[in-house]
Amino acid sequence: MPLPDDLRDLYQQVILDHSRRPRHHGRIEAPCTHVHGDNPTCGDEIDLWLKLDANGNIEQLKFEGQGCAISQASASMMSVKMQGSSQSQARQLIADFRTVVTGEGNISDEDALGELALLEGVQKFPQRVKCATLAWRALEQALAEANGSQAAAPATPS
């Protein structure tokens, strides 16, 4: 029996590949921002390490985590896209990605999404949106924290 299209779209080869061999997996040594995120109901977890450069751009981003293929692949694909991004690029991508997986809102930059557009299949599985967005919510939090600590940077030079 052939697999239903919905399922094939959800678990495309690229996605399964990212989930099996996550990119930028691991930790960054301090100084950096570290946040922990989870979806308590399903047990998905992520640890995300973020380092900004002198201009406030994303110098490095790494993660560890456990959870379903969608949450891990999404984290891996995000980490690939984010290396070297400016914060405004990052924020736009976060917003656009939410549109990809929920179908709500408009995408401001199709091209920037690249492979991430493949996660569109999640739209048919509303319960999985929180899996797909776990890493992204963690990144939002990390950026907020990093900016907070940068504001405080003069006081505690690293």
Binding site: L3, C42, G43, C68, A69, R128
Partner: protein
């Protein structure tokens, strides 16, 4: 013997397709399906007899009250209670346990201890954490051994302190399928002067349960897991123990006399049933008991055992599959919980769903137990008497397919 093809006709919900495939409902430990006779009991009640109970003298109220109390008697007989006055209606296992935890905690202090096992559902853990916090009592645990049984040596040590006032333990683990030695555990508690509460959410309706033989003081279960409607459950309590239990919720029906300043309370069970009860739910529970008794609990148990054995034998053959719970050959309730190397449980459950197969994935409200077995979660197939060997075989085929897909 159960004539399966006949029984399945009693369950309208089973005859549908999901994702173009026949529904295979293996999520019975989360909630069972309802036979026509239970649905009909609800409809009949609302179409003919609905009225508030106890307080009326008119015909509908009399009929509703008579049916409501008849259901209480049937439930009492069903679980071997000494009297229907030992049956308290609640929303479910969770509320039953909260009732005991709140009412008992009023009497506890820092010198007292509560014991629970390491395989409890959150519903039999969190209420005791809260009771311990409120009263200052200690909360102690009985570890789970590698073979999914309880470390009774540690239980003995706890009890030997003389500080344990109550032991609460699950009858059948909803995550492992272990069946705990309840009579032995309750004996130990009683000898140490502790009361015992048994969480029977996964036991009642699956095999004969007789509270007198078990020797516990409280027994809690949910209707929705045994063919009854959602929203109704039972706390059984030994009369002598209920007599000394203060009320928990206040309101109509549980009082004897009320002044603005103070109130006196009725005896059990009324004392513990404040407000308008779920009348239709109770009547539906009575109908579910009738239905299960017509089939016979021993037959239900035998069928569950056979299906589970077939499932377990097939599961352990699958590549990269780790079976949780009692080792093959040991007694196990009608469920099998497992992890796959190649796929997270949510991916597997999603896959299965597109094949019409309803599994449950996650921590099954037993986070500490999952941690104990170093599992982030598990996939669970749980069976009931309306499931068939063909469905088990189909599940094994679908799992094989999933393993191919995700590997």
């Amino acid at each position: 013997m159960i004539d399966l093809s006949q029984l399945r006709q009693d369950f309208p919900i089973l005859h549908q397709q999901v994702g173009g495939e026949p529904l295979i409902y293996f999520d019975n430990a989360a909630s069972s399906q309802k036979p026509r006779s239970v649905i009909d009991a609800l409809v009949r009640y609302y179409e003919r007899d609905n009225a508030n109970v106890h307080r009326g003298l008119h015909e509908l109220s009399n009929r509703a009250t008579a049916q409501f109390e008849a259901a209480r008697s049937r439930v009492a007989r069903f679980i071997g209670a000494a009297s229907e006055r030992e049956i308290i209606f609640t929303r479910g296992t969770t509320e039953s346990i909260n009732l005991v935890a709140h009412a008992m905690a009023e009497k506890w202090g820092p010198e007292d201890a509560i014991v629970v096992s390491g395989m409890e559902h959150h519903s039999n853990l969190v209420p005791w954490q809260m009771a311990a916090q409120r009263s200052g009592a200690s909360l102690w645990h009985v570890p789970v051994l590698d073979d999914s049984s309880l470390d009774l040596g540690v239980l003995k040590q706890h009890l030997s302190t003389g500080r344990v006032r109550l032991l609460s333990c699950v009858h059948v683990s909803n995550s492992l399928g272990s069946i705990n030695p309840v009579p032995e555990i309750c004996d130990m508690a009683r000898e140490a002067g502790a009361l015992s509460l048994i969480d029977g959410a996964q036991a009642v309706g699956h095999f004969p349960v007789d509270v007198a033989k078990l020797g516990c003081d409280f027994y809690a279960f949910s209707g929705h897991k045994m063919c009854a409607p959602t929203g109704i459950g039972v706390l059984w309590g030994r009369s002598r123990v209920l007599e000394n239990l203060p009320p928990w919720q206040g309101g109509g029906e549980m009082i004897e006399s009320v002044t603005l300043e103070r109130s006196t309370y009725k005896e059990a069970p009324a004392r513990f049933e404040a407000g308008t009860p779920d009348i239709a739910g109770v009547i539906g529970l009575g109908a579910a008991v009738d239905y299960l008794e017509r089939i016979g609990l021993p037959a239900i148990e035998a069928h569950g055992t056979a299906l589970t054995q077939r499932a377990v034998e097939g599961l352990v053959e699958l590549p990269g599959l780790r079976l949780l719970g009692p080792p093959p050959g040991k007694p196990r309730a009608a469920l099998a919980s497992f992890t796959l190397q190649c796929a997270h449980t949510h991916d597997l459950v999603e896959f299965a769903n597109t094949r019409g197969l309803a599994l449950r994935g996650g921590h099954h409200c037993t986070q500490p137990l999952m941690k104990r077995f170093k599992a982030a979660g598990s996939s669970r197939a749980s069976f009931y008497f309306y499931n068939t060997a063909d469905e088990v075989d189909a599940m094994l085929r679908i799992l094989r397919e999933a393993i191919n897909f995700f590997s």
